[in-house]
Symmetry: C3
Subunit: 206 residues, 3 copies
């Protein structure tokens, strides 16, 4: 059902969310098991919460295990290179923003498939895109970053609204591409507008 292109971005999103989890876990000096779990929570937590709330159980990663495998492989590769990766933050933010767009779109479309109202679909998109990070932050004893700095969530919500404004007029795939592009560009613009690279992994240092 999903195009090859979307699958590729989803995989890229999983990989960067997973690496983001590795970096956050490392700053809390978690051991190897903790790092893997936090990587998994970051990449899969949003979709898991979404599936629980709508009752689409067992949760997706138990049935389609290749996504879970991608998380663990990404984390395993990232752990030895974690210093280098931190210097690649600009690249990471690009991937992470793409993943945010795709995850949001997946959540919105899943909501539509289940017949929810547009407002709930936007909420499901936001949960899918953002709540992996929320559960990660709560697990490692931080106040969730997006409760304090709303860039992530605003991009998801705005992207979701655009989806429902455009869907009566354009084919679904086109709208999906536009939403992903919008969320991606909005997030990148915010980074640019601050005229400095926001250290998106500094959240655990607070």
């Amino acid at each position: 059902m999903k195009s090859e292109f979307l699958n590729l971005i989803e995989v890229a999103g999983i990989i960067t969310f997973s690496i983001s989890g590795v970096l956050a876990a490392q700053e809390k000096k978690l051991d190897i098991f903790g790092i893997f779990i936090i990587a998994f929570i970051t990449a899969m937590g949003g979709g898991t919460l979404r599936d629980i709330l709508i009752g689409d159980l067992p949760v997706n990663w138990m049935v389609n295990t290749q996504n879970a495998a991608i998380v663990f492989i990404s984390a395993a590769v990232a752990i030895p290179f974690r210093r280098t990766i931190k210097n690649l933050q600009k690249v990471l933010i690009v991937f992470d923003s793409l993943g945010l767009g795709l995850f949001t779109l997946v959540g919105i479309e899943k909501g539509i498939d289940h017949g929810f109202t547009p407002a709930i679909c936007v909420a499901l998109g936001t949960i899918t895109g953002c709540f992996g990070g929320v559960i990660r932050d709560i697990s490692i004893n931080n106040i969730p970053l997006i409760f304090q700095k709303e860039i992530y969530a605003i991009a998801c919500i705005a992207g979701g609204i655009i989806y429902f404004l455009l869907i009566p007029f354009f084919p679904k795939d086109i709208v999906g591409m536009i939403v992903i592009a919008f969320i991606f560009i909005l997030r990148m613009l915010v980074v640019r507008f601050n005229w400095s690279l926001p250290d998106m992994y500094r959240e655990s240092k607070r």
Copy 2:
């Protein structure tokens, strides 16, 4: 099924729980998105956890979206007036206690509808009434207030026990009113007995 009167109290309960979330979020200096989410978690978290545990999915607020709308409208109205509201704490505690009674009753009756034992029904009532606050506290990095100061939970549990003591003898609606009144009066009495207004939002200052 529910009477107009109960619906009115439920709405009042949602509003005050939502405002309570706004005040707690504000003390943690969350941004606007964080404030809305914490208001939502406070008002809807208990019922959401209850629905997940009993498998009544999708959770209620996804289907009956007017309750979610009430949360967001309450929070939106409360945010600009949040200093004034803090001075209205006496009024807030009245509403909050009424909401606690109603939420507990909703949980108990939902448990009965699903055929659970009385003990589980009392647990579901307590979860519905109290665990929105628990999830709120965990989300903003506090140890849940009711784990430290049991007024809330004891009132719910005692109310639930009274429900099952009376239900063989009186009509369901009458018993419901008595339980709500009992929880409301017990909570207000505790406040009175302490001879000072318990600052129910001081929990986040620890």
Copy 3:
């Protein structure tokens, strides 16, 4: 379906996990209600999360309420004796390790009953055995112990792998006994190897 022997160990596991929760809650100076809730979360949290993720709802303790009763009775008995119990830590670790083995086995076999892949079954065993402690730690505002000190989780994962290595060759009950024994002995050996009794309840002092 389960043998008498396994039932006995499960009860022993519930009791020790429950007591472990009492001790952790006490160190955080929670009130009586908080202590009971934390005991319940410690003993039942892992199985509850497992049942939610696989959609086996209502969660088990709502239907088979005797396990919930065992938790509360254990906690009620433990609270007045909590100083003595702390001196019985060696005994507690024996029970706790047995419970860990049994809980892991229950999770694995539930995964098999639902037709999941071996990797997911091992994950479900680990969740059942370890995540009660994880949810307990998050609830009382600690970074989960097993994210920092992986003994628990490694024992569960290794036990799960051994289960699937042996199951083609031996009867299910025999494999179950071996897995429980393996997890039990591995955990006890780690304790021994450290040449000192690891204070498994010191986690809350950090």
